[in-house]
């Protein structure tokens, strides 16, 4: 969850991913105040305007809400946090499945492998 902004994608999109993850994982708790744009920009080593853009986008999709007096906070809408969590999980799984297909694995083989390795962990 550190600011690992090394891909070639737009920087605001990478920032957005990090903050989203921090909300889902509970590092920023529901209803908690989010640090200021300047502080976050300094922490991430990015341009404040870029940080602003990422936060505005999070506000637009509802994960972050603005209180007139107290700045930006994480939403208290647990359904929304859960929905985002599920969406990200599906993205991860479909990415994983795509990679396994490239390796020539069938869905059945993937499931078998997954269960075998899950068994090793337990």
């Amino acid at each position: 969850m550190a600011w690992n902004l090394n891909s070639d994608r737009p920087i605001y999109a990478q920032i957005l991913d990090v903050i989203q993850l921090r909300i889902i994982s509970g590092r920023y708790r529901p209803g908690e105040k989010i640090p200021s744009v300047r502080d976050l920009a300094a922490e991430a080593g990015v341009n404040p305007n870029t940080m602003q853009k990422a936060l505005a986008e999070l506000e637009r999709n509802g994960l972050v809400v603005t209180q007139r007096t107290s700045g930006r906070m994480v939403t208290e809408d647990m359904d929304m946090i859960q929905t985002t969590r599920n969406k990200l999980a599906r993205e991860q799984v479909s990415e994983f499945i795509d990679k396994m297909k490239e390796l020539g694995f069938s869905k059945k083989e993937v499931v078998e492998l997954f269960e075998r390795m899950g068994g090793e962990d337990a």
Binding site: D8, P10, Y12, G45
Partner: protein, 233 residues
């Protein structure tokens, strides 16, 4: 408000007919951090020196708030030259007093804070400092003014990566929202995350002025990668 800096048809021809700037046109907005990028000899330093009134244009002009370079514009611009110009026998605290005398907008407390964050002693004589530390001191002085425009010629080239991060954070947190920072560098990958816009120059002309995010969005690559493609040798 109108643009902060306007470069109009600016041309500089040195002796022996070397054309450094070739009818350059450029507008620099307020409140942005802008990278001036180009290969060696593309005209970056010539442009910066013309903005600071250190060279005379052969043709065209550069205007800041509508004014040609002069005593007034020097009050607005805080300039970091590519070489250090301080007297080696000075101590750091003498340098702070020197800047206080020279610039009304210099904030000594800000400079002292940054010096202490980077563990640089105010009692040290400049000649006892390493090259990189001298560069840090100079940048601290320049960034401790309340200028409208900071012009930094290769500000991070000589310092280690940890100090580089500190310096970039300082630029992000210190500059006021209406001020613009224009910096030239070759170290694009280190710096592109703090930039709003980049200007690519080649052979004394502007070949691109765009936002970092737009380049990444449209080209699908970082500014560093795009620079390598545009200026491939």
């Amino acid at each position: 408000m109108n643009a902060l800096v306007e470069v109009i048809n600016l041309t500089k021809i040195y002796e022996k007919k070397k054309i450094a700037l070739d009818h350059m046109n450029l507008t620099i907005p307020r409140g942005k951090i802008i990278g001036l990028l180009g290969p060696n000899g593309s005209g970056k330093t010539t442009l910066i020196k013309l903005m600071n009134g250190l060279l005379e244009a052969t043709e065209g002009e550069v205007l800041m708030n509508g004014h040609r370079p002069g005593p007034q514009t020097k009050n607005w611009i805080s300039y970091l030259p590519e070489r250090t110009y301080f007297h080696n026998n000075m101590r750091v605290d003498e340098l702070i007093r020197f800047f206080c005398d020279f610039y009304q907008d210099f904030r000594p407390e800000r400079a002292r804070q940054m010096l202490s964050n980077l563990n640089i002693s105010e009692n040290a004589k400049l000649k006892t400092l390493s090259k990189g530390t001298k560069e840090k001191v100079q940048l601290i002085m320049v960034m401790s003014r309340e200028a409208q425009l900071y012009v930094l010629d290769e500000p991070i080239a000589g310092v280690d990566p940890a100090a580089r991060d500190y310096i970039l954070r300082t630029i992000i947190t210190n500059y006021n929202e209406n001020a613009t920072v224009l910096l030239s560098t070759h170290l694009i990958s280190d710096i592109e995350k703090v930039l709003d816009e980049v200007i690519f120059i080649r052979n004394g002309r502007v070949i691109l002025q765009d936002t970092v995010e737009n380049i990444r969005e449209c080209r699908g690559k970082s500014v560093d990668a795009y620079f390598r493609e545009v200026f491939a040798c």
